[in-house]
Structures are given as structure tokens and as C-alpha cells.
């Protein structure tokens, strides 16, 4: 069991997470988060570089012989919008960047561009709609961002927009936008400042995960690691299920992960079959140290591991995520205890990893 473990989530980390979540960094425009990452890693890194796509690749060398080169990836980008057409008077058309359901957009405050100019995705008042209209989802094409006439000149086509959600901590829960994957970034920053001494830690703060795992692909090529861990955020669909037969709420068996049940270890998703040796190793460490963990239900979705594991001649990979509800919406919710368990699991699993962990005969 772990006592007084220094990988606990502390207040500084919560402050850092708030800063990260409040940054505007839509896929392809990750600068605001990149600045924060560089500010944090530069003082302690043995090597830092920013590659042609904007990935931050930071290395800390460990001590000892035959050290494993371990890549840990967390993506800096979030899903958002891009302004695509100026209709005058501060009204703009937009499109989504990454997977955002259109149902999540009406009547929201957005934050636009590097200056965080406020804008509204409005909605036609209920009084001016008919019952049959209200039974159909509002098409994305009908939606507009409205910045008002005064600020019309402060935004332009090509600017990105993100939800302008306020970060809240309430008991053991955090609600914010972009918990996917700023929580992974926060964990990786902590790991980078307290690295397991037995490995070479290659931290990859990747770009463009949400639009096709694109940053991770080139980062893995450049880093050429022995193994990789993708640190992401995965849906907790642990809402009540619906029993069609009984026509009422019932036990949900397709929850993906559940809040409060610890770090989510992936066995398989749409992008990757996690290396079984790594899965065994992580589970063994969790059991030995009393870290709370769960298995993410196999199914859809992908992480940076999807692009990493097929790079070069193959890189054994695993994904470990913090569960969160309502990701890719304005307000996601995660538990600090799940965050902490994920952070501890990564640290202790990598501290305990050796070349033998990857024995085929083990």
C-alpha cells in the first residue's frame, strides 16, 4: 500500500489544471498550451524540442544500464470550432474541429482566438419555433457565432473557438472544458518533473490527436522508443441505462468506464490492441501498490497509441486514461481520486519496468 505518496494530486496541480483547461488550443492551434508546457519542462529537461507539427518532445535521461526508452504521450489539443464565413455585424458561420455533437452547441458562450473574445452560439427563441421543428435537432448549418457589432472587427475567419466554461472544483470532482486531455498533460508534466529514475523518459506533448492522431505519429518516429504509454481521458458513460422492455431507467452495462473506480487501463479500442505484457505489468503494479484501477470496456474510440504502435517496426503500447463524463461538451466532470490513481499508476508502473517486463515468455 502507498502511504504519504508524493505523487498525490496537490493544490499546485489543480491550479495548473485550471490554467491548462482555460487555455484555447484547438487541433492545429495548440500554441497556448504549448507555451505552458515549455515553461514547465524547459527548466528540468535534458533535451527539449518542438517538431515541425508543433509537438513538444522533452527528454529526461535516467540512470543505470540498459535503460528502457519510454515514450509517454498526452495530447495538447482539444475539440472546438473554426470560424468559416463572415456574415457581417459580428455574425459568423463555423464548423467543428474534431468530434463535437451538434446538439452540444446551441446557447453556449464561446471564447474566440488568442485574445479569448467572447461570442455566443445562439438559438432561435422557443416562441418562434413549431412543435415539429423542436422534435428535430438543430442543424449545424443553421447555427452562428454572434460576437455583437462592437467586437465584430476583433475576430476573423480562421479563428478558433472553444467553450468558455468556468473551471470548478466541488468536493472530489472537477468540472471544466477540455479535461480531455489537459488532465493527461497535467499528469505528464508532473511525471516529467518527478521522473522514474530507471528509465529514459521521452515526454511527447502531442498535437492534432482529435483530428487523426497526427502529432503522435511523427513524435513516435522521432523519439523511437522501446515502449509507449498514451495518457488520455476516456468517457465515463456511467449514466443510468434504459430498459427498452420495461420502458424505464435500468442498470447500464455499456458504461465504458465509471467515475470513482480509478485509472482506466485499455485492453483494446478501435485504434490499438494494447500490448498484453504491458497490461499485465500495469495491473500487477496496481494490485501490489493498492492503486484503484478499472478496465476500459473494449469498443470504439482511439488514443495516440493508435498511431504510435504501428510506427517504425512497431512500438509496444498501452493506453491509460482518467475517466471523465461528458467529454467533448462544454462541461466535463472528473474525480480527483481517479486523477490521482492514474498519476500514481503511471509513475509506479514505469518505476517498476524492466526489459524483462517485455519478455515474450513471461
Amino acid at each position: 500500500m502507498l502511504e504519504n505518496d508524493f505523487m498525490q494530486v496537490n493544490n499546485d496541480q489543480i491550479v495548473m489544471l485550471e490554467r491548462l483547461c482555460n487555455a484555447c488550443a484547438v487541433s492545429g492551434d495548440e500554441g497556448e498550451v504549448r507555451s505552458i508546457v515549455l515553461e514547465q519542462v524547459q527548466p528540468v529537461a535534458d533535451e527539449v524540442s518542438v517538431d515541425p507539427m508543433g509537438n513538444v518532445l522533452a527528454k529526461r535521461y535516467g540512470a543505470g544500464e540498459r535503460r528502457m526508452r519510454v515514450m509517454v504521450a498526452a495530447h495538447m489539443d482539444e475539440v472546438g470550432l473554426m470560424l468559416t464565413n463572415d456574415e457581417g455585424d459580428g455574425v459568423f458561420r463555423f464548423e467543428t474541429v474534431g468530434g463535437i455533437a451538434a446538439q452540444q452547441l446551441p446557447a453556449k458562450e464561446m471564447s474566440i482566438g488568442n485574445d479569448h473574445i467572447p461570442g455566443i452560439v445562439g438559438a432561435v427563441p422557443i416562441h418562434l419555433t413549431s412543435l415539429s421543428e423542436r422534435q428535430k435537432d438543430i442543424p449545424l448549418d443553421n447555427m452562428r457565432i454572434d460576437v455583437g457589432t462592437e467586437n465584430a472587427g476583433k475576430v476573423k475567419i480562421g479563428d478558433r473557438a472553444v467553450f468558455a466554461t468556468k473551471f470548478h472544483q466541488q468536493g472530489n470532482s472537477i468540472s471544466a472544458k477540455a479535461i480531455d486531455d489537459r488532465i493527461g498533460v497535467a499528469i505528464l508534466l508532473r511525471l516529467f518533473t518527478n521522473p522514474p529514475p530507471n528509465i529514459d523518459l521521452f515526454a511527447a506533448f502531442t498535437v492534432q490527436e482529435e483530428v487523426g492522431l497526427r502529432g503522435a505519429r511523427v513524435a513516435a518516429f522521432a523519439l523511437d522508443p522501446d515502449l509507449a504509454v498514451a495518457l488520455d481521458c476516456t468517457p465515463a458513460n456511467d449514466l443510468p441505462g434504459w430498459d427498452e422492455g420495461e420502458d424505464q431507467w435500468a442498470k447500464n452495462t455499456r458504461y465504458n468506464t465509471r467515475l470513482g473506480e480509478g485509472a482506466a487501463i485499455y485492453v483494446a479500442d478501435r485504434g490499438t490492441l494494447s500490448d498484453p505484457r504491458l497490461v499485465s505489468h500495469f495491473v500487477k503494479i496496481a494490485e501490489e501498490t493498492g492503486i484503484s484501477y478499472q478496465f476500459r470496456q473494449p469498443g470504439g474510440g482511439a488514443t495516440d497509441a493508435g498511431a504510435i504502435h504501428t510506427q517504425r517496426s512497431g512500438i509496444p503500447s498501452i493506453s491509460v486514461s482518467v475517466p471523465a463524463r461528458h467529454i467533448h461538451t462544454a462541461v466535463a466532470i472528473a474525480r480527483i481520486s481517479d486523477w490521482e490513481n492514474t498519476q500514481k499508476l503511471i509513475f509506479h508502473s514505469l518505476t517498476g519496468i524492466t526489459r524483462d517486463s517485455l519478455n515474450r515468455n513471461g
Partner: protein, 353 residues
């Protein structure tokens, strides 16, 4: 201008759902304290503030009514730590997914409105907009804490903070109708130190969004000679049709139709013209959807007027107003009041053959 913005922002940050207006009534009461000769609360909770005129007694009075209640949600059930809710006021369920809310339980809790994934919804809803009954409020707490802290009947209000879109445009929830409460307050402020004959009753009414209960009962209790409902109306914006809205940011809308006494409309229009206050004609062919509907038929009947502040995205958490339209409304009301004399009611006499 800045102080007015601050006051309006604090007004929309105070809870006051229909039937539960106490928090906002307290706030308006503090604001009206220095501006009224008398303040009292009606039996249903409306706030009445009196500014006495200087005319000979018995003085005629004008009632200016702005409803202070706002729309929101109410908890109808708990399922595994999530809340089921119903609407208090007309809400399009399609604007709810992902909204930040405050649950007013045994303590104030932050929450969000969750749209369950398709595989957790009945199949007859696949491909359709999900109605309010199937949305869930998530406060992120374990079910045992939810049991302890939240009850059926607890209120849920929007938590969208006010949004400043430049110096003169404000957005947020409850601008319907706190924008009008602000206009009424600015009118009272304008009347400070000015001479006028009639008594002025300012009423921040309750329950407009559900029953018009405040308007019916305040008009009956105060027995004014004239009653003006100050409300909001649809300002033209993205997705709206021109013929269903009024221009946005071009001044208050003066209502015309069966809820409005035509001569009273003309009188307001004349004052607006004389003082060069931009204004718009709004056709209200049927139920005006305002307190005027109720006040007109209180007791033996009262001549009523509707003055509306154009507002975009009504009944969503991102309603939008131009501050200038609020100050124009305040000024129009004040100048109208200052001109009222003991001959005014004759203008409203209907023609007799």
C-alpha cells in the same frame, strides 16, 4: 454607463425562479430603497415601490410593472445520483445539453445537463431531438451525497455567467426580464429630484412566466389609472425571420394591439418623438405575452401599454441586449411620467357616437 452594467450583471446573477423570487426581490428592494417613498411586498411576493407625486390629493397613479421572475428547471426525480428535471417556464430542450447549472439543494451545487449517449436512450428517440424528460443533471457527486443534499422540488437555475460583448452589449440568462427591472430602476433614478404630479408605482412582479399571478394581483391592489408592462421582445438575429422580430439595438418597441390602449400608445409615441428617443412599432395582434395581458382586466379594467426591450435568443442562457435600449426605455418612461397631468385621462376616452 458602467454602474448600470454592473447593476444589471448582478441582477442576472441572482436567483429568482417563478414562485421563488425572494432572493431577487431583496436585491431590487435594496436598489429601490433610496428611490422610493414606500416599499412593500404583495401577498404573492411582488415588490411595490411608491414615488409620490406632487399633485393635489386624491392623486392618480400609474403602475409600471416589470416581472422579476426568471425561467429555470425543477428536480422531479433522482436516478443513481443523477437528477431528472422539468421546466419552469418555456424552455426548448435542444438548448440544454452541456449547460452549466446551479442546483439549489441543501447547499448550492454546480452541475451540468447531460445528453445521454444514444445507446442509453429509448430507440424511438434515435435520430430525434431528445426531450427534457430524458436529459439528466449531473452534479458529479456520489449517489449517497446526492440523496443527502438534493430533494425532489429543488430548483435548478442556469449558471451561465454574464458575457460582455463590448461596452454596450450584455448577454446571459434571465435578461428576460431583469433587463426591464433594470430599466424600471433607472427610470426611478431619473425621477429623483424631478417634479411630477401623478403617483408612480413601480412593481417588480412575480410569476409572469407561469401564471401572470403577480400582474393580476398587483394591479388589483394598487388600482392605478394606467398600467405599463415593461418586458422584452424578440430582437432580429441569426436564424430569425424579419416579420417575427423587431430591429435589434434600435430602441424600445412600443406595442400595438388588443392588450394596449391605442391612445396610450399614441401618447408614448408622441413623447418618444419629442425627446428624440429611437423607438419601434411592434404589432402585438393577440396575447401580448406580458403582464399587460393580466393588468388590463384587473378589477374594472385598466388602460395598458407594453414597452419592450429587443432581446436576442430569448429563453436561453445566452439572451442578449443592447444596454442603450434599456436606458432609452428608462428615459421614455421618466419623460412620460413627468408630463402626466390631471387632464391626461381625457385623452383615453373612447369615442361615443
Amino acid at each position: 454607463m458602467e454602474d448600470k452594467f454592473i447593476f444589471l450583471k448582478s441582477l442576472i446573477s441572482t436567483s429568482g425562479l417563478s414562485g421563488y423570487e425572494t432572493p431577487v426581490r431583496k436585491q431590487v428592494s435594496s436598489a429601490w430603497e433610496p428611490l422610493a417613498d414606500e416599499l412593500k411586498t404583495s401577498r404573492l411576493g411582488s415588490l411595490h415601490g411608491l414615488r409620490k407625486g406632487s399633485g393635489d390629493e386624491p392623486r392618480e397613479s400609474i403602475l409600471l410593472a416589470a416581472h422579476m421572475d426568471a425561467i429555470g428547471l425543477m428536480v422531479t426525480g433522482k436516478v443513481e445520483g443523477f437528477l431528472r428535471v422539468t421546466e419552469m417556464g418555456g424552455i426548448d430542450g435542444r438548448v440544454l445539453p452541456g449547460q452549466a447549472v446551479t442546483v439549489h439543494g441543501r447547499e448550492e451545487l454546480n452541475g451540468t445537463i447531460a445528453l445521454p449517449p444514444n445507446h442509453l436512450l429509448p430507440s424511438h428517440l434515435h435520430g430525434k431531438a431528445v426531450p427534457l424528460e430524458y436529459l439528466l443533471v449531473d452534479v458529479g457527486l456520489p449517489p449517497s451525497e446526492v440523496e443527502e443534499k438534493i430533494r425532489v422540488g429543488d430548483l435548478v437555475s442556469f449558471a451561465q455567467p454574464p458575457i460582455e460583448l463590448g461596452k454596450d452589449i450584455l448577454a446571459g440568462h434571465s435578461l428576460d426580464n431583469r433587463a426591464s427591472v433594470a430599466a424600471l430602476t433607472f427610470c426611478l433614478n431619473n425621477l429623483q429630484g424631478r417634479a411630477f404630479e401623478w403617483d408612480v408605482w413601480a412593481a417588480a412582479t412575480v410569476q409572469e412566466e407561469e401564471t401572470f399571478g403577480g400582474a393580476y394581483t398587483s394591479a388589483f391592489e394598487l388600482t392605478p389609472k394606467l398600467a405599463v408592462a415593461i418586458d422584452v421582445t424578440h430582437g432580429a438575429g441569426p436564424g430569425t425571420k424579419e416579420h417575427k422580430t423587431v430591429p435589434f439595438g434600435k430602441g424600445p418597441a412600443l406595442g400595438w394591439g388588443p392588450n394596449i390602449h391605442p391612445a396610450l400608445h399614441e401618447a408614448f409615441k408622441t413623447v418618444a418623438g419629442r425627446f428624440e428617443i429611437p423607438h419601434i412599432l411592434e404589432a402585438l395582434p393577440r396575447h401580448s405575452g406580458t403582464d399587460a395581458f393580466a393588468m388590463q382586466v384587473a378589477a374594472a379594467g385598466i388602460p395598458t401599454m407594453v414597452i419592450s426591450i429587443p432581446l436576442r435568443y430569448m429563453h436561453t442562457p445566452v439572451e442578449m441586449v443592447v444596454l442603450k435600449d434599456i436606458t432609452r426605455t428608462a428615459r421614455l418612461l421618466a419623460e412620460f411620467i413627468v408630463e402626466l397631468d390631471d387632464q391626461f385621462m381625457q385623452k383615453l376616452a373612447w369615442d361615443t357616437e
